[in-house]
Symmetry: C2
Subunit: 571 residues, 2 copies
Amino acid sequence: MLFSQALIPTLREVPADAEVISHQLMLRAGMIRKLAAGIYFYLPLAQRVFQKLKTIIREEMNRIGGQELTLPGVQPAELWQESGRWNLYGKELLRFQDRNERHFCLGPTHEEVITDLIRREVKSYRQLPLLLYQIQTKFRDEIRPRFGLMRAREFLMKDAYSFDRDESGAEESYHKMYEAYSRIFERCGLEFKAVEADTGTIGGSFSHEFMVLADSGEDTIVYCPACGYAANQEKAEIKPPENIRQDEKPQPREKVFTPGKRTVEEVTTFLGIPPDKLIKTLIFSTDKGPIAALVRGDHELNEIKLKNYLGCNELSLADDSLVETITHAPRGFAGPVGLNIPIYADNILREAVNMVAGGNEKDVHLKNVTAPRDYQVIEYGDFRQAQANDPCARCGKPLKIRKGIEVGHIFKLGTKYSEALQATFLDQAGKEKPIIMGCYGIGVGRTVAAAIEQHHDKDGIIFPFPLAPYQVLILPVNINDAKIRATAFKIYNELNKSGIEVLLDDRDERPGIKFKDADLIGIPLRVTIGQRTLEEGKVELRFRHSQKVELLEIENITGYLNNHLSQVFLR
Amino acid sequence: MLFSQALIPTLREVPADAEVISHQLMLRAGMIRKLAAGIYFYLPLAQRVFQKLKTIIREEMNRIGGQELTLPGVQPAELWQESGRWNLYGKELLRFQDRNERHFCLGPTHEEVITDLIRREVKSYRQLPLLLYQIQTKFRDEIRPRFGLMRAREFLMKDAYSFDRDESGAEESYHKMYEAYSRIFERCGLEFKAVEADTGTIGGSFSHEFMVLADSGEDTIVYCPACGYAANQEKAEIKPPENIRQDEKPQPREKVFTPGKRTVEEVTTFLGIPPDKLIKTLIFSTDKGPIAALVRGDHELNEIKLKNYLGCNELSLADDSLVETITHAPRGFAGPVGLNIPIYADNILREAVNMVAGGNEKDVHLKNVTAPRDYQVIEYGDFRQAQANDPCARCGKPLKIRKGIEVGHIFKLGTKYSEALQATFLDQAGKEKPIIMGCYGIGVGRTVAAAIEQHHDKDGIIFPFPLAPYQVLILPVNINDAKIRATAFKIYNELNKSGIEVLLDDRDERPGIKFKDADLIGIPLRVTIGQRTLEEGKVELRFRHSQKVELLEIENITGYLNNHLSQVFLR
């Protein structure tokens, strides 16, 4: 492709409304443009990157026996009513009526429609298992679309669905998909981790998220370098501490006056104690009534773990009026002593003595609080966020923390949808059974954005080879110099002929602009053709990733690049 | 792929609601299923065919310098208001509000959004020309979706847009696209014609439709075997007749009583005259007032030609009350004699003498009507539908007629959208000018349906090689016979290894069912493995298209197929 004929509208300035680096760079590199909130144009450079990723995804889906299809994007309300999600899904589900006033929605996900297809077409165990996938535009009317392709409203997704006869079959499908996802992100040249994830409201079954590691990630990954355990922080388990009573002897409980001191920091500073001597008491409203949860002052409560432990559907921090009703004090002074609601405490508090806690009275805390002398806990459990150096739940070795971007999610669904929509089959004994399902997603645009978050420098994108829109950029320093121009086109034609994807910057622009754009759009290999080297019959090859530079004879460049690229793609 | 693991739900019976053959066969071959009116699942077999077509389209678009991108599907109302189409488009445009009550529509076509992109990114003549395309799902809320993928509401389309500096550039882009479309349909193995088409309400510029020839087509194509002229019937021009006065001498006009005789057939039968002796008088209501149009009794008026000739925006047959006001008679007795509105007549009536026409009086016709003695025509013109053997407007030789299915449409748009949305550029002299646009579409699903309309027999689909979902079907007559099974898998593995796309019907089904399914899904080559031939070390190769059968040594089959397929694809 000739740059002068390509639609690659690069920008000098960082666009004002782009907060994250991938969003900034995709705008600046002329990959995307915004049409409306969360709705983007994918320009030719992005399209090429998407196409690369889609090809990798297709190859790996087909390798595990996946069959590609296309499910409808416009979906009738009736199916969503059958699954119960028409009411549950909220405003993210974009709804409308057609010209005949029938209700439809724009598919944010496709469990309903594919289950409808399968219940109509599959009758016998002989037709199972099935693994079906599609790569399709979805729409979710996000309340706050942001970060470019990271959280868009209209976005491209690969979604897959497995249908099995029994649990072991479903687990095998899940495992195959796990392996396929691992290969996909590996082939993209991304550093990633597959982590255990919460199954959310679907419940019962299990799930992994595939996280691209990047400091800018919104998700926190907890992992154990010793045994390989890895989980999303919202799910990551911590080994319960050994039950060794602290040496300290319980002291008599006493009231202290803490005027206006509510936060952990305020109270510990005021009292001159370390945060691990404080009990943080949180009051929650749940569908099973209010409860209190205790964690140590230096820890954070994990609401998802607590909610899963309690098995409740709703759990949220109590509002001020509920806090006052329960503690008889304003927010900031709640404590376990004398509290009349069920108390759940994090494991680490089991042996804690002489702690400081809220006094359930305005401007009052209590010192030397010790259970069970001063308060009674219904159950101790693993209710806090894992932190670096917490003991791994599997092997006890210290955990580590990294930031990640969720790019894939695999889910053992079980029979949630097959039971709601009555997708059943006759087993070998002629008995009717619900099909066991799994669902699996990859955010195509988000994977590309995550790749950029992981692979960039101050000058721009550094595309991994497998995702690069072109493999080679030819940069003639001055296109009006006849010899430079002729050499550039000669190499361009040779590379094209060898099947290498090459962009020739034939624009009549200053070299500074061309070099800046080259770094910005991040094509892995740059061949610079300048007067000085040309006089020696040479061109300069620069690796975008390592910034390494080599001078090569003009006659050797095509052979060298062919050789280099075949090695890169042989890995 | 193994048939037993594939989702290819074939049907024995012809589905009740499928009227056209492609719809029936796509349902029966397990290619598509309906989710709602005009909304379909594309199952794996269809997906593979679509993928083949998409690859051909991409290759030909790229060959002429097209750049692929993806435009948003969900589009803000504001852009459509700018172009004026928000009000003009009617109910086919599916409109809705997002969670913030902003108005959007689901893109039925993408002139507005791409013009918005280009007006933001293109400023200078140096950025032009551009040729951009996408392959994307569109939605048109058709009042009567029907014929399966022929007229669906949700459908896959390749749309392309060209942007040029001037008319000659725009014509060059148009010509390139014409050539690319010709290559696409040729490479698909389809018999087609590119025909001149009416530009409809866009006006001014020119346009071609690409028609796949099929007796079941809804469109009528008029073409000249002598000079190559071809047009849609609604556009096809007829050479005006030579002005040779008929020999017949005008006779005195007389009234005849024709009680209740209104239609051409009723009047001519009643009076015992041939239809070419009758003048058919049609009263139209237009935005420029009512007019009368005359054609000979054996001809059909072409409203589009008449409308284009008159240059009016609205033209429709007058209702009964307007007919009565103008002719003072009920519908069926209108005639030109004494009529007080402008009269336009088809060229062929210029020299007609002694004709029969309505008397503008109930149950009365007039005989021996001759212009200009009896009535005055404002203008004679080409106002009728071309029929077989009419003289070609270009060369005068007899025209022919065929039925076709419109699968592609190319359009020189001019500045309609660039002016409405102010997409301008600075030319070399620094002068601001509107960009000259073209738009170009291929219905992907409709092309596949049209291919089936053109290539089938009573047993099922006969896929052209380039579109076939698999090239070879292996049919072991009895999969439980160890030797047959082993041979089937041996050939299957060999063919897979050679890169041939092969489907192995490993189902434990009766041979009759397998043979029927093989014919139905229409894979071009079938390798049958049966006991009798196997004893001689042979398998049977059958060509779906010609039904030709060959017996081949098992060792030779892979080599033979490789050789055959490489010849097919070399063409």
